[in-house]
Amino acid sequence: MLDKIGIAKRIAQELQDGWYVNLGIGIPTLIANYVPDNVNVEFQSENGILGMGPFPFEGEEDADLINAGKQTITAMPGACIFDSATSFAMIRGQHIQLTVLGAMEVADNGDIANWKIPGRMVKGMGGAMDLVASAENIIVAMMHTNKRGKSKLLRQCTLPLTGVKCVKRIVTNMAVLDVTPDGFKLIERAPGVSIEDIQAATEGRLIVEGDVPEMVLA
């Protein structure tokens, strides 16, 4: 079973040299810490910066330099700043190669829900609807089950959708799964997690073919 850092480390393996990447709030943000050595990627934050660097040293925080999670950040050499319309021009125009975001639910057709629990919680979709509607490559980073132990990988989403048929890959604390026309296809198991464990924790259609390897994390 992976912790949040493990999920981030596993997703970091997906990064390809030269990619521009948008990381959502939460687990996705952690991915920036585990980029493989031989891979250069640039991180876009949808509030208006490309080339986000690490957090500032204490005392060097700049209120005018934050990421989409409202955290103080730094800019790498070669960074650039832009307005929100230009930022979403990049996203909508498919100039960003990878989007990683969290979810409350994912359906086995690629639907995703992550912005609203009717009557209980409404934070808003922020940039998520734009991101999932346009990104060619969307990875969801989340726990396999919710706090009450219920599967977050469903046959159909029960919450209001963020986007339809858009998720390509899901990395959870238990597994790596791809969305296929026939449901979630199990790609890798987390260390120590059995196929049966994953089957038990997955409500949506699960495809298990042949030997499913265990993840290898650096």
């Binding site: 509030n47 690490p54 040293f57 005018d64 409404v122 979709m125 609807m129």
Partner: protein, 231 residues
């Protein structure tokens, strides 16, 4: 023609209860602090506010929410504000949540004389309900309309008396589009300079979009999530 006004109180002259305002900023970054304080002071009510976020409980637009001055919010993300969530869930506050990119593009469209455009964002979700759907290259899009406001209020780093603006860092965010979309646009700046002091090649918002400008004071620039690393 003189665009320069003395202060926030003078800048917001003509703003009345029931009007629609656009306010720049992302989170608490790049918000027009001086004008928000002046709006609290003025006490206008029943406002419709278009702003990406709603501030936090005790800063930014949260100050107007506390005083029940806002009837309706048009935003993309409001997760940092408990009072907001309370008013919304209780039905006291109308809320129109819009995908962030659509919000930015709709403001730009309002300023650019584009009444409507197609975007894929929100198709198949609540956001797309009742909106025209059209396929382009086999992909569904929805028709979104321009947004404008009676007054747009933006915050810049430097501005000249012609209204030309330069923003600093990610405090730029929604300010440039909203500056375009106000029937009257007010800019508050940290430093007001004379024409010729800003390089024409590096202006972010051309002065043509700005009707009133003033140098603000006592910027708090509160940080929402102070994150640091150790040396």
């Amino acid at each position: 023609m003189n665009k320069v006004v003395a202060n926030a109180a003078a800048a917001i002259e003509g703003i009345e209860s029931g009007m629609t305002l656009m306010l720049g900023g992302f989170g608490l970054c790049g918000i027009p602090e001086n004008c928000i304080a002046a709006l609290v002071e003025l006490g206008v009510t029943n406002m419709t506010c278009i702003s990406n976020n709603a501030g936090v409980d005790d800063f930014g637009l949260g100050l107007l929410l506390q005083k029940r001055q806002i009837k309706k919010m048009i935003s993309s993300y409001v997760g940092e504000n408990d009072e907001f969530e309370r008013q919304m869930l209780s039905g006291e506050l109308e809320v129109d949540l819009i995908p962030q990119g659509s919000l930015a593009e709709r403001c730009r469209a309002g300023g650019a004389g584009i009444p409507a455009f197609f975007t894929p964002a929100g198709y198949g979700t609540e956001v797309g309900h009742g909106k025209e759907v059209r396929y382009f290259n086999g992909k569904p899009h929805i028709l979104e309309h321009a947004l404008t406001a009676d007054f747009a209020i933006v915050k810049a780093w430097k501005g000249d008396t012609n209204g030309n603006l330069i923003y600093k860092g990610t405090a730029r965010n929604f300010n440039p589009m909203m500056a375009m979309a106000g029937k009257i646009t007010i800019a508050e700046v940290e430093e007001l300079v004379q024409p010729g002091e800003l390089d024409p090649n590096y202006i972010h918002t051309p002065g043509v979009f700005i009707q009133r400008i003033f140098q603000g004071e006592k910027y708090e620039k509160r940080i929402e999530q102070r994150t640091v690393r150790t040396k």
